[in-house]
Symmetry: C2
């Protein structure tokens, strides 16, 4: 028997992974959560039918969401992670001894429990003593927060379902207020390629650009996400991710990373023309 | 009824495109050639079951295979294209008035005929008067060629079937000899991600590094190729693709490109660590 997991990446594109075993399935209060094992990608996490992470390529996503802001401002001490229930973002953050406090706000405890049990390589640092997990809605959490964080990482699902509130004007405004004057906001920002993703990307960028004096986008190759070409937003009150980049300080930390390096940092902001045009004029449809 | 084209990108990964119409099918002397039409990717060319190009993303591949060497040595005048029967590489080359002669050596006339008929946006410049098409085996063609070309572009299929001879030591040696002292070799070099592709990439790089004083690899995001993270080799007798890069000269040509730009040129050589390690030590398995 052959068992295949399939995702309609668009109405007309399907991506499928041959499955060894269906390890976990649950309908939480918020979403459908599944974990599979596979020959090619190792174990992988699916939420509402969509690939969140696979063991084979999650290092790319987590390297890029954490080390880019950390190498821009290596003095970051207080971090807020919104979403990120798989623990991969927290795992990379905990590699910096200089970080003092990590608050993770994840709406769905079922995701965290499933990842702790079935994806320990990803979730294994959620017990670090600097980490506090808040099981609540991220958009509500930032409503009551002022001048608290040097870095906010929005490690969200797509802007449908529980992730929707993390792509609104109000949410970005609250993030701005929750950040210190040195603050950096990094957010999962979809993809430039398929129009369905690109539209959401442009909407998010347009909102962020109206709020933050510095608003850039950076790219990385994420094989199991639609088109493999994926983006993070980098917004900041003060630090520019290329002009203020501190490669020597970052190198002095001695972290081994399989995707990120100081060349990749610079390169990730050098966007293809069709991507650059969307970022520069995000209001055009 | 739903009709889907599916490719096993590895034994355990499948990529599928919903099809509007099956426009062309032929079993040539060398391979199976098909052209489909689709909502998402427009028309697309399949050889032996594998995606060669889609109308939606071919601009990425053809931008990167042509403009990177041309911006490194803008004085290139004589070009040899091996493979490339779809005409996309020739199309980009013909945009340079300074190029005097383009020889294209494509083994399979059926590919060229199918692309002329069904993919005119790609194949439309094959009739440019600087272009001569030779329907023969590329590896045989370079055996009898000395000091003729400023640029050889190996726009090949994967190293199985008719493309196999384009990944051998002997072939690369013949390319070296066919190049002038200013010569540059660019070759389709597979992908770093799935082991099946990465092994072929390392083998090709190892061979090229033994022959050419300058041998680098550069990357781009190719959504319809496995993992979306694809590579070209850049080998040369004299010009380094970053140190000798001439962005201002290239900009003065005034070419509009949707993927390539002078930032992307530089960034494409800044490889993720796991890719860099494979390139630096291609003999490790």
């Amino acid at each position: 028997m052959e068992l295949w997991y399939s995702q309609r990446q668009t109405e007309n594109i399907t991506f499928s992974i041959k499955v060894r075993q269906h390890l976990f399935t649950a309908r939480s209060r918020y979403q459908q959560v599944d974990v599979f094992d596979s020959e090619e990608m190792g174990r992988f996490l699916i939420i509402d039918g969509i690939v969140m992470l696979t063991s084979k390529d999650e290092f790319i996503y987590h390297d890029m969401i954490v080390h880019v802001p950390m190498a821009t401002n290596p003095s970051i001490k207080r971090v807020l992670v919104i979403g990120g229930g798989d623990g991969g973002t927290v795992r990379e953050l905990t590699r910096y001894p200089s970080i003092e406090r990590i608050d993770m706000v994840e709406i769905d405890e079922v995701v965290v429990q499933a990842c702790k049990q079935y994806l320990p390589n990803t979730a294994g640092k959620l017990d670090d003593k600097r980490v506090t997990i808040h099981f609540q809605d991220g958009s509500a959490y930032v409503r009551d927060t002022n001048n608290q964080y040097d870095l906010i990482i929005v490690d969200s699902t797509d802007p449908i379902g529980p992730g929707e509130g993390l792509f609104t004007n109000e949410f970005y405004q609250n993030c701005f207020r929750a950040l210190t004057n040195d603050g950096i906001l990094v957010n999962q920002c979809e993809s430039p390629f398929y129009e369905k993703n690109a539209r959401e990307m442009r909407r998010a960028i347009a909102k962020i650009k109206r709020l933050f004096p510095i608003a850039e986008v950076y790219q990385y190759n994420m094989p199991t996400y639609p088109s493999g070409h994926w983006l993070f937003g980098f917004a900041s009150k003060k630090f520019h991710p290329v002009r203020d980049f501190q490669p020597e300080v970052w190198k002095s930390f001695g972290l081994n990373t399989r995707y990120y390096n100081t060349d990749v940092h610079t390169a990730s902001f050098m966007l293809p023309t069709y991507v650059r045009e969307q970022i520069d004029d995000p209001d055009s449809e």
